[in-house]
Amino acid sequence: MIYGEKCTVAIIKSMVKQRNAEIFINLTMEDGFPDPDGDLYDLIHEDEYEVLNELEGSSKKKEEVSKQPVQKNPGSQKILSSNSNEAPDLVLPSQSGITANEATKKRTFEELFGDVTDLLGDDILPDVHEHKEKRPRWDEPEEVIKQVLEARRILHTQNNYVSIHQTAQDFEEEKLETISFRVPSWNFMPVTRPSDSERYYVRVRSHNKFAVTKNRPKMVTGLLSVSYSRLKAEAEEIIVKNAEEATLLATEPDVQISSDDKLWVDKYRPQKYIELLSDEGVNRKFLHWLKLWDKIVFNREPITRQKVTEMPKFGTKKFIKNKPIEGRDSKGFPEHRIALLTGPPGLGKTTLAHLVARHAGYNIVEVNASDDRSPDNFRQALLASTEMKAVMGADPRPNCLILDEIDGAPATSIDILLKFIHGKLTSKSKKGKNKEEKGEEPCRRPIICICNELYTPSLRALRMAALVIQVPEVSASRLAERLGEIARKECIRADADALLQLAEKSGCDVRTCLGALQYMGGAKSGNTFNLVFKDTKKGLFDSWKEILQVPWARNRVIPARERMERILKVVFNSETNRLALGIFHNYPQIQNNSIVRLSDSLQWFQFFDRITTFVMNTQIWSAMPYANYAFVAWHFNLAANNNIQLSYPSVMYEVNQKLAKNQSILATVHRVSGIETSMLTIDYCPLLSELLTPRLRSVSGHLYSSNEKAELTRLVNVMLDLGLALVQEKNPDGSYEYNFEPNLLEIGLFPDCKKRKSLAYAVKQIVVQEYEMERLKRLERMTSGSSKLVSTPTATDKKRRNIEATEKLKEASEITNAVKSVANHHKKLEPVVPQPEKMQCRDFFGRIISNDRQQQSANKISPRAARLQDMVNRNRVWYKYKEGFSNAVRRTVLMRDLL
């Protein structure tokens, strides 16, 4: 399929052949080739078959013959797998000797296990087989990584061989076109035959071409030979490389009409574990995590580190089995229920997740940004994908949920996810029925999240709960290698240097590179990539590092001009404000010698602030770019040569928080007292701690001297004026403490200044009592509209207060008694006849007070009553208005009427 579209003419032909090849392969595979991913296998191998087809002609017999070397691979694979079945650490009683035919009902060994066997893939050459005996165990990553890398290398060589056949075949086709009678489209040299002066056009080829021709027979034999020696392979590899380059140069660009409308990105998406471009350590870590789920999902122990050969003794097996495996909790769940893959876009995170999940034997359910991720739908998707299983269809694998682009999901959805993995979420429908059963059942399926920005605020909680796997950038050289491979497959000219340049320029974004390559249809070293790459946004820390560190390239400092351009680029792509804050926050740790330089760069901070404020106020955004030059200045002034440690500028945020708190305190006080906030901070607060701590003994309030009482009154009044109260709070050590609320004092106090004394606890209790009393009094004064403006200053004097109270009571009783006591509804406004001499005074209980006592009381108290009497005497008519009285509503109702 990949090699099939060279010439438009050849397509149909090749399609037919391809079919044949496919059928054949399927046939061969079905007996004893237990690969669940059969299709993949086809994809890779059919190419080789097809090439061979074309090389040897279209007859099927020949094809079968020619296939022998390739067939060797499946054979070796078979041995391999059977061998691995025998390997004791891999033994699982129920699963030995399963063939692919049974795969529909039982899961094959490879599918479930996905161990090194199928890691190494189906393309492994025989010599890999040779060190099967010392194949590393599952938990020895270094060795496995080494081996995988080796396998990968070999895969490449093999691909190269394939391209040799390609070359050879091309050559034969082209041979027909070396001489032409008309002016050809290729490079030519005109030749005139002296005999009949006929003009020929002879093709001009590069010198290398002939080298290929020479080598050709050798290559064919090489392909057909059964075993390879390493040396030979290497030697041939070099030759192949040369040959291939030559061919590619020779092929005409106009042949490259792409007949496939598939994007290369999809077309060349890795289909196998070994094809993954990402860092092997990361791949392995991720796979390891996924394997930890085996206990829960497949009820099966993953391979442990122990070599089973070492424990032939009876009973040891059980012991091993019960031993907890690292990275898991007591119930057998992995420590982290979620894996969070993170990294810049285009590194193949999604590909990695898909591939590994499939590899581990899961059915993938993907939820990405294109799906609705509102909390309800999200919950539904979660429950559906993890608690259910496909019943229909031939693929009864357990589900694995991949949440792609999770940094865009709403925070509430992520909350649901977190609840879910901790087993606190139940499906709504089930809630009523079997709540108890479900109760604490946590998620039983692996969930993989993928995001670009790890530090998105909504992901904060998830970050804690998940196993965070940073997918690092693909190394430029490796990416370039892969690009070259693809370019070869697509038959386009691609220079290694140019590809490297492309890879570097795109920031090692695989997707971008492939897109660019497909778009340009080739890359020459002379080509300048004036493609517009997407804004490669860097993280804040990266940007800060870029600015605060002197860049080194090849052991020398990059020239100033280039440095400036780089900085401008970095700043251009990010949030300038936070960037500036970060630099401000971090520079003192970095720059450590010259105060003059610091003051210069601080002037640039002033400049920056000035510009941003101006822009914010006037909304003239065209001024904004000038601010970027401040970053350049900071870079040149502050950048350090050595490696630097940066921290996030959270101080600014804290300062703002505390300031806001203090300002709200000031605002409340301002609201109560009417004193301006600035005066409060500057003048009142600093002195308040003195003003509010008078010298009071911690004895009962009754024992205070008059001075102390006056102090207490003053204190309470000041507190009331400023709206402060003493509130009892419990200290962490269990004792109680009274604190001012709002805590205005704190605003006036600075660290390492004079130590202030505070009132004793007992004194504060007295103050609180007094405060409450005074407060109520004020409230009363305010609500009773009459509000005697002249307030009684000595609130403390309890005795006097008592007298006052009795006075008031007496006054009131006198007034009421003065009015004739009749039932409410009989009351009428009657003209009052002034009868001063007959005026009777009654005491509280309505008894008539005898004259002498009346005189006494009149003398002693009630100036108000006297005034009333006086008023009654003087005026002929007066009335007393009583609010809420009405004849219409009130009437006497006897109990018997109601009964």
């Binding site: 003192p588 000035r610 609201r671 500057i682």
Partner: protein, 379 residues
């Protein structure tokens, strides 16, 4: 007619969210505040002029300015009392609600009597323009209810005018002229430099200078007399000096002294505001060592000051004053120039810490260079 009047009254009561009657405060600063022009203790000449001004029928807009603690507000309240009589002493606190064009709801606290309204528009930050426009208009568009035997105009007292945004000040210009028949503005500011010239020219400027040290001592003495206390002259002078000619601070300090220790002794400890002490220490640090690590330490202190809501221009000012004490004449000039420039930028920008730190660094740089030079001379 009477019913209508009541209805109107209820309407107004309903408009304002809640009412609070202000009581006479019990701190000495408020307790002993003079309430009429004739009772003012200092700048008596000016008080006399003001009295004449009030008695004339033609009362202009006023712009009262002077340093904090000089008695601007006291003087203004005296003027208003002189205008309307003792009715102005019944103060209410009200919260008024406004809505910005962008539908943001704001509330602002006003203190008002029947005759005047006092408001600090800078409380609402950059939205002060709306407040100025709405408030002045609503007040100005209603006439005095009972104009017989009263002034025909009401008074709007705007405080902290120098902190108003340019927009708000421009909004003020037109309203000042348009509603001159029904309302007079009294503007109160610390300095006129941030008040638009257009507004300055529309007002009668009255400068209230800080009281001198003897004036403050005499006031402190009279307060003590009224409180029945015995104040030694020396202590009074010391308090007056420590207050930096800020009368409010002086009285508060005196009261703090009294609470701390009475009877007074001449050598008694006077509590200074913490922030002042803190800034003095900071300046000492700056002079002691000039290095980036010191700068980092000072940054922490500056943050502390900002957290405590100390206005940044005050920080700048005091820091400068403290620093300059350690400099000789030439350096003083240099630093003053730098400080002036930096403060100007600071006021026009938003992040005070940048500018404060820039000043500190610049001071360190200048100081260090100077020290290096003089050290070179000795060698």
């Amino acid at each position: 007619m009477v019913r209508f009047f009541f209805k109107l009254l209820y309407f107004f009561v309903g408009v304002f969210n809640y009412l609070l009657l202000l009581e006479k405060m019990s701190l000495w600063v408020d307790k002993h505040r003079p309430t009429s022009l004739s009772k003012l203790d200092y700048h008596t000449e000016q008080a006399k002029h003001l009295k004449n001004l009030v008695q004339e029928s033609d009362f202009p807009h006023l712009l009262v300015y002077g340093p904090p603690g000089a008695g601007k507000k006291t003087r203004i309240m005296c003027i208003i009392r002189e205008l309307y009589g003792s009715g102005v002493e019944r103060l209410r606190m009200e919260t008024m609600h406004f809505e910005t064009p962008s539908q943001k709801k704001m509330e602002i606290m006003t203190i008002n009597s029947n005759y005047h309204i006092e408001v600090n528009p800078s409380d609402v930050g950059i939205n002060d323009r709306v407040v100025v426009m709405d408030l002045v208009k609503t007040v100005a568009q209603t006439h005095q209810i009972d104009s017989t035997g009263q002034r025909e105009f009401k008074v709007v007292l705007l405080t902290n005018v120098d902190q108003l945004t340019k927009d708000a000040q421009h909004a003020l210009r037109r309203t000042m002229e348009k509603y001159v028949a029904t309302c007079r503005l009294i503007l109160c500011a610390n300095s006129t430099s941030r008040v638009l010239p257009a507004i300055r020219s529309r007002c009668l400027g009255i400068r209230v200078p800080s009281p001198t040290i003897p004036e403050i001592t005499s006031i402190l003495n009279s307060i003590c007399k009224r409180e029945g206390l015995n104040l030694p002259d020396k202590l009074a002078t010391r308090v007056a000096e420590a207050s930096g000619r800020n009368l409010r601070r002086a009285i508060l300090m005196l009261e703090a002294c009294k609470v701390e220790q009475y009877p007074f002794t001449p050598e008694q400890n006077i509590t200074e505001p913490d922030w002042q002490v803190y800034l003095r220490e900071t300046a000492k640090l700056m002079v002691k060592e000039q290095s980036p690590s010191k700068l980092l330490q000072i940054r922490g202190r500056l943050y502390d000051l900002l957290i405590h809501a100390i206005p940044c221009d005050l920080i700048f000012k005091v820091l400068f004053q403290e620093c300059v004490k350690y400099c000789d004449l030439q350096m003083k000039m240099d630093i003053a120039a730098v400080a002036a420039e930096y403060e100007h930028t600071m006021i026009r920008s938003s992040k005070a810490i940048f500018h404060l730190e820039a000043f500190v660094a610049k001071f360190m740089a200048i100081y260090k260079r100077f020290m290096d030079l003089s050290a070179g001379d000795f060698m």
